[in-house]
């Protein structure tokens, strides 16, 4: 298996064959997770710490479950409630944790680049669970796995990413990953939320959703990130829903077998019609959650193998 990274900080440093390696292994873990006895011990003896400097329910639960299913000792730290409030810097926090000898550190932080900075200061493997508006690699990987399993391939697909691209690390990681795997990507949304610079990544930009969705295979919706907006980007939620909310009518422009994705949590009636989100023939939103656990198991498994190999080499 060729996956030569110490950390998983983003999709950007990964090569296509490494992405495939993670997804292949994740397929095995999907099978494991569907068995009544879903336990493995590949991470037995290792300590996983989940450090979330920003609120998260889904991602944190997914990482926690992934670690536990692989037999790691998992600890959750809700950082927004702890020492950061007492004025401790990120690096001091990292050094403190490092002294507790964790093996896997899962970090989410509100600032872009913060997880990279932390990774420079610790001796363990760091997984980026989302940094600011930069990257959210495991989300892109779980989306890729979902697409690959439902479309049978992860290349030469027309994929639309819709909504609040500007504030979304999910969009960035997906854009990079799907681009590396040679898909055609369209970004759809109001120009205030889809800055023109994204055209330089090789994506096509549409501000008319009906036009943009024409003949796509995959529709990825994004959450309107109200908490990251520091000014008026859209006139109102109802106008946004009218122009950019995904409903049956707009989806009719896509291919008949197009799938609908959403990283969650959804704002029903803002970016997506509630009925459509629940339509098991079109929506793969529940599968995405399932793939999330498997992809995180695969990522942690691969990083732990490298960590063990590195330690063995050092000891030998």
């Amino acid at each position: 298996m060729s996956f030569e990274h110490r950390h998983l900080l983003g999709i950007e440093p990964l090569k296509p064959h490494e992405i495939t390696a993670i997804l292949d292994l994740a397929d095995d873990y999907v099978a494991l997770n569907r068995r009544p006895e879903k336990h493995s011990d590949v991470l037995a003896g290792l300590t996983q710490i989940n450090m979330f400097f920003e609120n998260s329910t889904r991602t944190q639960a997914s990482f926690e479950l992934a670690g536990k299913r692989l037999g790691a000792d998992v600890m959750n730290m809700a950082m927004q409630a702890s020492s950061i409030k007492k004025g401790e810097t990120l690096i001091d926090t990292a050094m403190t944790l490092n002294a507790m000898h964790p093996d896997l550190l899962v970090v989410r932080h509100p600032h872009s680049g913060a997880v990279d900075l932390l990774a420079q200061k610790v001796n363990c493997a760091v997984l980026n669970a989302g940094d600011g508006k930069h990257e959210h690699p495991t989300q892109a990987l779980l989306d890729a796995l979902t697409i690959r399993r439902s479309k049978g391939r992860l290349h030469r697909l027309n994929i639309a990413i819709c909504g609040d691209i500007a504030h979304s690390r999910v969009a960035r990681s997906n854009l990079i990953l799907l681009g590396k795997m040679e898909n055609r990507i369209r970004l759809i949304g109001p120009p205030t939320l889809v800055p023109g610079q994204f055209a330089e990544f090789g994506a096509e930009i549409y501000d008319d959703m009906r036009e943009g969705l024409k003949d796509v295979d995959v529709v990825m919706m994004l959450r309107l990130q109200k908490e990251r907006m520091d000014g008026g980007f859209i006139p109102s939620e109802r106008e946004y829903y009218h122009r950019y909310g995904l409903d049956a009518d707009k989806l009719g422009r896509a291919k008949p077998d197009a799938i609908v994705m959403h990283p969650g949590p959804m704002n029903r009636g803002v970016e997506i019609d509630g009925t459509l989100a629940d339509d098991i023939n079109r929506s793969v939103i529940q599968e995405q959650v399932e793939m999330g656990v498997a992809v995180r198991m695969a990522a942690m498994d691969l990083l732990a193998r490298n960590l063990r190999a590195e330690r063995q080499a050092k000891a030998g």
Binding site: E12, T89, L90, I91, H109, H111, S112, G113, A114, D116, L117, D131, G132, K133, H134, E135, R169, R172, P195, Q197, F198, E200, F201, D230
Partner: protein, 436 residues
Amino acid sequence: MSTLFINARLIDPEAGTDTPGAVLVRNGRIAAVEKDTADPVRMLNAQGLSPKDVTQVDCGGKCLAPGIVDIGVKVCEPGERHKESYKSAGLAAAAGGVTTIVTRPDTTPSIDSPEALEFVTRRAQADTPVNVLPMAALTKGREGREMTEIGFLMDAGAVAFCDCDHVVSNTKVFQRALTYARSCGALVIAHPQEPVLSKGAAATSGKFAALYGLPAVSPMAERMGLDRDIALLEMTGAKYHADQITTARALPALERAKSNGLDITAGTSIHHLTLNELDVAGYRSFFKVKPPLRSEDDRLAVVEAVRTGLIDTISSMHTPQDEESKRLPFEEAAAGAVALETLLPAALRLYHAELLDLPALFRAMSLNPARRLGLESGRLAAGAPADLVLFDADVPFVLDRFTLRSKSQNTPFDGQRMQGRVEATYVAGEPVYRRD
């Protein structure tokens, strides 16, 4: 006391020449300059001196140029002396060939009263081997609400007025301050930037900032700020200097303002001339400056504007920051870089890249800043103060930030290959630095 510099490569920014020659210094001033056919004995005879009256310095073919006049140096007294004191800044300046530092008022508290300015003058005189000329804030507390006592501050020695990176966003306040400053003959230095657009920005908008997910500002915000200021100059007739012009889009506006006869000059920073936005890669906070680093196209346009003289001055924008304020996620990290000691080696990159010749570099680093402030220095001519820098333009070295004399070592050039080094610095004919 007299010193004769022989066998020198003379960089004369006023004449625009780069020639072999000799310089005679007497009583702190340049007494004579001879180019090409320098005959030391004749030079001495003309001054009524004999060889035993003078100290002779053989420059060994190295460059002798007027010392650098650096507008916009932050010395962190009062308030943050642990980042930079007058003593450490003075040593760094001397080692960098900077013979005059023009200090910024963005200290804690701001230099916005004659009393605060006197403190600066006293500290500078006690501890600094180079010339120190203080600037004062244009508005009290740099808050953009009320103008400072511009007249009293000038009497106390303020050479210019600026609120540094704070834009006076209330246009009426700025208009009145410019009008009042004109009546005093004061130079106002402003930071052209649309303050609302640039609020919170850590990068320049573009592919790089989009990829890295950093809050970004359009380069257009600089032009919008400059356009407003130019309109105010047409209204008030004030004497104005833009601290840093860093984008191609601002240059036509500057050119028009100059050709319309407004009393306007502009500077840029050494970092915007030698680095671009891609250097931040990996969120390296030592590359975080204000305004943020620009695209390569902008960088080249600004270098060209220095060559043509549209941009008048190059500054170090020396801004010391301690490790604690830099070792943070990029967005939270403090902006600014130290540059007194790296200004000349970095500027020489432009010379080695054949973008600027040495007289053009020293026109922007020595002659023009001195002229704008009404100083006699910055020239390699008889009668000028003997503020000189002797440097080897070619010697290669790798910069180690821990060798810097500044108390803070936040330089973006750490570990980089540089070419060109200061051999000695003279202020009023006296050596203030010699490389050992």
